[in-house]
């Protein structure tokens, strides 16, 4: 497996919409290199015939009846928003 590069870190950070300083990118590249080097030991195991376990419970989809229920009030929720305007969350302009 190829080593993780600075470009890989930048690419993943971009996917995660996470701003990193140049310093952070450099130290993260070397730290993630160490960690992924360690993780490579998983390849010692033959898992060709092993099913993956995403979680341990024998539960698939859990639905509740499609009925309207009480939820938090709009007022209470908007109080938490960094910016709100006329009953809605306000963000920078999306369409020009």
């Amino acid at each position: 497996m190829k080593e993780i590069s600075l470009e890989d870190v930048e690419y993943a950070a971009r996917l995660a919409k996470l701003d990193l300083s140049e310093e952070e990118k450099v130290s993260m590249t070397s730290q993630l290199g160490d960690i992924l080097g360690y993780v490579a030991k998983l390849n010692e195991l033959d898992t060709d015939d092993v099913e993956p376990t995403a979680h341990v419970l024998p539960i698939k989809n859990v639905w509740r009846p499609d009925k309207r229920e009480e939820s938090l009030s709009r007022e209470k929720v908007l109080q938490l928003a960094p910016k709100a305007h006329e009953g809605q969350v306000r963000v920078p302009r999306v369409v020009e």
Binding site: L32, V39, V56, L57
Partner: protein, 493 residues
Amino acid sequence: MELNLRSAREVVRMVREKKVSAREVVKDVLAAIERTDPLVKAYLTVDEKGAVKQAERVDEKLARGEEIGDLGGLPVAVKDNFCVDGQETTCASKILKGFYSPYDATVIRKLRESGAILVGRTNMDEFAMGSTTENSAFGVTHNPWNPERIPGGSSGGSAAAVAAREAIVALGSDTGGSIRMPASFCGCVGIKPTYGRVSRYGLVAYASSLDQIGNFAKDVWDCAMVLSVIAGYDRKDSTSVDVEAPDYTASLNGEIKGVRIGIPTEYFGAGLNEEVRSAIEEVIRTLRGLGATTVEVSMPHTDYAIAAYYIIASAEASSNLARYDGVQYGHRTRSPNDLEQMYTRTKGEGFGPEVKRRIVMGTYALSSGYYDAYYLKALKVRTLIKRDFEEALRKVDCLLTPVSPTTAFKIGEKTGDPLTMYLSDIYTISTNLAGVPGISIPCGFDSEGMPISFQLQAKPFGEETILRVGHAYQQQTDFHKKMPTIAEDKPTE
């Protein structure tokens, strides 16, 4: 009267019998916090007024002859990743600074209904990512047994609060050892129940297939008492399991004759500190003396748990933490030029180094071209680890292991090297991957006076087994009764 030094069981009984008031109990706990917490720094916030008010309500109910609940008058400390209506819920992160939860987590509602009193919120590694509580954005918590050492993590504040007698019991969360490891380092009892045993509605998510709520206490009985209240199905958490929650104290009869205890060879290899090893061997002798039988078992994939864990946990974290984008709540960067910059700067400013590291690692492991090699591989190895537990627990009733290879290390000792830090979780991480219950129980001290603990694990929903064995052990030993000198400081008369 120093009611903070008493067990939860005693305090609840004394309040019920009106020998003391809930107000007196809370006052003693608050006084202990005031005396000791400037050194320990277990709490991020203490709700003095609210706690006294809650206590007075319990006392009023009692005076009117009404039922006060199974934990009536018992002060509880809560890790900072639990939503409590009206309380600032930060997960020790700058990104949630100023976020006041608009609702109660299910476990908080259950505690309130049982008459427990919420005294404050405890420090943690940011978003529960860490093993020392050094990743908190709001400062380091000190181990009550030696302030130069870490308390363990991520629930380090809760463990330190109980150990320093600044709380009688506390709630925490455990994703890879975050309850059991700090409990061990601070010398108190900590349980991580079966995945699905306790509702996580209102617990801020880190790695959803691994996170589980549990609690800290001075002894196994108190631990069982609190678990009985918080356990159970909740329709608001679709991963909680509809298995009836028993009264866990009912199984604590001190009787463990014939219980079969497995000792997994792989947990006693190189890297295990000799003092820890001999303390655990002494536990084995004690339990045999009580009539339990011990057999060696093999769990061959133990050594792969950390590698699988960091891929899975980081992948889930990168998805869970995408929500902190500055739109609906929490931190938002100042005057962004556009939406994209609002997202990237908000996260860049709000998250600390370890959280960023896991977001990037998780995103990378899930990205096109790497998914099969890292994420899918880790999920397959998880299956092998789970099978190890299933096979071992077919032969025995529970497993006995160390909690951590060493005792609490020094503050700053491992902060520069994330990989070495991760390796300290080697004995606790498999439990979460397999979804089984685990408990950490004090069993001695090293030559420098730092606590040592052992871990018991059982099959899913086998909490009664490990609690029963742990309780029987505590009937024979008094390590759980020792407290750090910092907690012995008497109030000035």
